[in-house]
Amino acid sequence: MADFDHSNKGHDHTHPHPLQADHAEPQTREQFLGLALNALLVEKGIYEPEDIQRTIEGIEMVAPETHGARVVARAWVDPDFKVALLADGFAAVKSLGLDPGYAELTVLENTPNVHNVVVCTLCSCYPRSLLGRPPAWYKSGEYRARTVREPRAVLQEFGVAINDDKEVRVHDSNAELRYIVMPERPAGTEDWNEDALAALVTRDCMIGVAVPKIRTHNSKL
């Protein structure tokens, strides 16, 4: 399982994913602009460096495994919670002690008849309070342009084939609503505990570009 923990461990820069080569250290004026802006805003007393540090730390504490996946796993095991979640995602997530974000949260249930996938064509709106920062591909021109128009082809590239008799429903997240997809609970997990179930629900499942997979050698029962 990929490790999404990006917390800054002092000077230990062991990252699970490489930094994009041309982004790692700022080189150009455009890349220094953010650093310059930060320096000026601190100089002018708009905020303190601690405000930035605290914000980054708060952002990095949110991961799909510990946040979004918990919501889905709870809905899988608790039918009353699932009903509440589908009716009012914001309130239901709050009831778990999690931050639903500042926008209206809608949970999209995958069923035998419908597969949901989420995109923001205009920018990159994403349920950050449950999934952390979006992956670069979610913000890419290709994902934003193609998912609304040829979703099945995009899903195929991500390794998901949807049957002909199942509807693909694309959600363009363009106002102050945020979405996560609740994937279908895989068969054979009826006796699994919540932690094991949550481990099946990846970030990509909750965007809608993956479905939960039970590894045949999975020893997480």
Binding site: E104, T106, T121, L122, V148, R149, E150, P151, R152, A153, D164, E167, V168, R169, V170, H171, D172, S173, N174, A175, E176, L177
Partner: protein, 96 residues
């Protein structure tokens, strides 16, 4: 412009295709398209206002509108039942 009109679940609506020089959140590919209201969401401030720091403008209803992909794209290569849902602020909608 019927900013004040309220729609109900199941209402058929058309998304305006008017020109709007200000910031707005109606993508080109849905302008002029028709769909069904599938959810009534919370009222929101208009993006046309808040983008320019007008925070006390009138709030408008927001709806989720469902459209058929075959209607949106003449060359759609998916399946006939495939759909697309998008949020739409009330001031961008007319009855269809």
């Amino acid at each position: 412009m019927n900013a004040g009109q309220r729609y109900d679940l199941g209402d058929r609506v058309r998304i305006d295709d008017r020109r709007e020089p200000r910031h707005h959140r109606t993508p080109a590919f849905v302008k002029g398209q028709t769909g069904i209201v599938t959810r009534v969401c919370m009222d929101q401030a208009k993006p046309e206002d808040v983008a320019y720091f007008t925070m006390n403008g009138p709030r408008v209803p927001v709806y989720r509108i469902r459209m058929m992909q075959c209607d949106l794209w003449p060359d759609y290569t998916g399946k006939p039942d495939d759909t697309l849902d998008i949020e739409m602020h009330g001031h961008w909608l007319q009855p269809a």
